[in-house]
Symmetry: C2
Subunit: 109 residues, 2 copies
């Protein structure tokens, strides 16, 4: 049986040409994964009409945008993007790992 | 308007006689909060039949139980408790703050 425990940041992977993603856990109602960025990489602002989402910075530093707010976020900062609120990562300022949670999971809406 | 950004651990509060909770964010599909423990405090094992949940250790050290697994978890450890799997905190070994996410939120099942 797979473990229920993860060292989250150890699942991170990086690519020179694009931001990458890694899956951590998925249930019927909640998905957890990582978004991983090299410095200068970004995630275009987008919106989930039917899902609540958060980012938690696990490592690095990035400018995150939620609605009209844009902040440079460091480890321990939580960014909350409830359904319908646009969100994205304007730019990673260091090699950055974000824990991402989304409910319901992609494909279950 | 309230900010979409939180320094999660700064919302923590502690009580000598019991573990405490703090709300961080709630949407229709996802709730985020903190569980806060002084050393020796615990959270009895329990199960959510209709909700997926996780704990992420933000500070401290605690023995967390998910299903048949029990682990001493430190900052950065994620513990995944999908719907139907019993989970709890056997004992905090230090002053401990856990980020907790649950989908759907309490009262929305």
């Amino acid at each position: 049986m797979a473990s229920f425990f993860f060292r989250a940041v150890e699942a991170a992977g990086f690519a020179a040409d694009r931001a990458t993603k890694a899956d951590l856990a998925a249930g019927e109602r909640l998905f957890l994964g990582l978004n991983c960025f090299e410095p200068g990489q970004s995630q275009a602002s987008h919106v989930h009409a039917g899902a609540d989402k958060f980012y938690l910075v696990l490592a690095g530093k990035a400018r995150i945008r939620i609605g009209d707010e844009s902040r440079i976020a460091e480890p321990g900062t939580l960014a909350w993007a409830p359904a319908g609120v646009p969100h994205g990562v304007d730019e990673a300022l260091e090699r950055t790992v974000l824990l991402v949670g989304i409910a319901p999971p992609p494909g279950r809406r």
